[in-house]
């Protein structure tokens, strides 16, 4: 079990895969999927198709089918979230960053599954998509950073099919391209959404941070997702499903989260204290 790390889309992707002769090729293919999306949609590359649409060089109507369908899907998300999620920057530029990273993650996931990898954990800039189990047969565990202290975890959940996508959106770091036509709600500084697919998780996490309590209430009612929100004062809210998935001392003691198969090498890492230092 090893974490393969590569830079893409202005962030870092970690792909944890079991050791295998095919691992390097699988990582290369996953990397390529991210690059393909970045090359088409990055607004930081003046030669990307979306950048050329933004500059007016290519009319949207003349853009590729892929770009237009990605845009159409983003507009559907905008409508579905009552505008809390939007692919439009305040200056009117179409920015698909809100969905493209998730789409790239899904594309990379598809190539992994196609090449026979059924157990892996993919982390793209803080959004996590897992498949299968850890080598010892236990569920993947995803920790989420405390927005008030990036060096510590706020909570950890076990991730099992079908809820295998964990996306977190927040105002603390990059902003996640949270825009609203109206003022951005400031009720939540961070929202984590656990869903069956990473696109839903990512979009809804953004929508909850941008749309505040009304977006949260509407989303948990209409989508089958688990949510945990963090307010500026650190107070938390969680849906029952998320609370049930939490890794707690009691569950660890009761062995609920223990090994199902009782063999294999645990691929785990202890985080006793923030050990991260600038390189």
């Amino acid at each position: 079990m090893r974490a393969h790390v590569f830079d893409t889309m202005g962030t870092v992707v970690s792909l944890t895969l079991p050791d295998s002769p095919a691992a390097e090729a699988a990582v290369a293919e996953a990397t390529r999927q991210f690059r393909l999306f970045d090359e088409r949609y990055s607004l930081y590359r003046s030669d990307s198709e979306l950048a050329r649409v933004a500059s007016g060089e290519i009319p949207l109507t003349a853009a590729s089918d892929e770009l237009r369908s990605t845009y159409a899907a983003a507009l559907q998300w905008r409508d579905a979230t009552g505008g809390s999620f939007t692919p439009h920057r305040p200056d009117g530029v179409v920015d698909l960053n809100g969905t493209v990273k998730a789409l790239a993650m899904q594309a990379a996931a598809d190539t992994l599954l196609d090449s026979g990898f059924s157990d892996w954990c993919l982390n793209a800039g803080g959004d996590v998509l897992c498949a299968g189990h850890q080598p010892d047969g236990t569920a993947w565990r995803v920790g989420v950073v405390d927005p008030a202290d990036r060096g510590s975890l706020l909570f950890a959940i076990s991730v099992e099919s079908p809820r295998r996508a964990v996306a977190t959106s927040g105002t603390a770091e990059r902003g996640d391209h949270i825009w609203l036509a109206t003022a951005i709600d400031s009720t939540y500084v961070q929202a984590t959404v656990v869903a069956d697919d990473i696109e839903t998780a990512d979009v809804l996490a953004t929508a909850i941070v941008a749309g505040g309590p009304s977006a949260l209430a509407s989303i948990v009612e209409r989508w089958s997702v688990d949510v945990l929100t963090v307010a500026p004062d650190g107070s938390l809210r969680a849906t029952p499903g998320l609370t049930a998935a939490l890794v707690t001392e009691e569950k660890e003691r009761d062995g609920e989260l223990g090994s199902r198969h009782g063999h294999g090498v645990p691929a785990r890492c202890e985080i006793d204290s923030p050990v991260a230092k600038p390189l």
Binding site: D127, R141, R150, D176, T229, T243, D272, A276
Partner: protein, 167 residues
């Protein structure tokens, strides 16, 4: 006619649950707001859909005012209020409206949540203490999520620490 009456009864029961449940969650929200007065960010969240309570709530209010209108013994007519009953979803008190010996309406007068239990039947996000979400000082995790970090910020992230630690 029997089928229609039965269906009507089922519908009424569902409506009661919906009204009661929303009343219950409203109570939870206000209860939590008071208990956490020092947390400005935690009050008045979890809005309920505005349309449902007003649609279903109006007749209930009207009937409540007509409570205890002459309960008769022979061909019973009027409103009968039950005692406060403990249920898995909180305390419930219902009022039954009877017309010529037949139940014509059932209303939930009172539904309070006890210990946050009623929320388990819904997918509401309810307040939870930080001490409840992370109890261990050290937690084994496979991956660390969080708001999107840049390539630079990754270097100082927990995920980077995790990777460097040899996962």
């Amino acid at each position: 006619m029997t089928i229609r009456a039965t269906l009507g009864g089922i519908f009424a029961s569902v409506a009661i649950l919906v009204v009661g449940w929303q009343a219950g969650s409203a109570a939870v929200t206000s209860a939590n707001s008071t208990s956490s007065a020092t947390r400005p960010g935690s009050s008045t969240t979890t809005g309920t859909p505005a349309a449902t309570p007003s649609a279903a709530g109006a007749p209930a209010t009207a009937a409540t005012q007509a409570t205890s209108a002459a309960p008769a013994k022979a061909a019973a007519s009027g409103s009968f209020t039950g005692s406060d009953t403990n249920t898995p979803f909180g305390n419930v008190q219902v009022q039954v409206v009877v017309s010529n010996g037949k139940i014509t309406d059932v209303k939930a007068l009172h539904l309070t949540d006890s210990g946050g239990r009623s929320v388990q039947i819904s997918n509401y996000a309810v307040p939870i203490l930080k001490s409840e979400v992370l109890q261990s000082q050290s937690v084994n995790v496979s991956s660390v999520g969080g708001a999107t970090y840049t390539s630079d910020a990754y270097l100082t992230s927990l995920q980077a620490a995790l990777t460097k630690a040899g996962l």
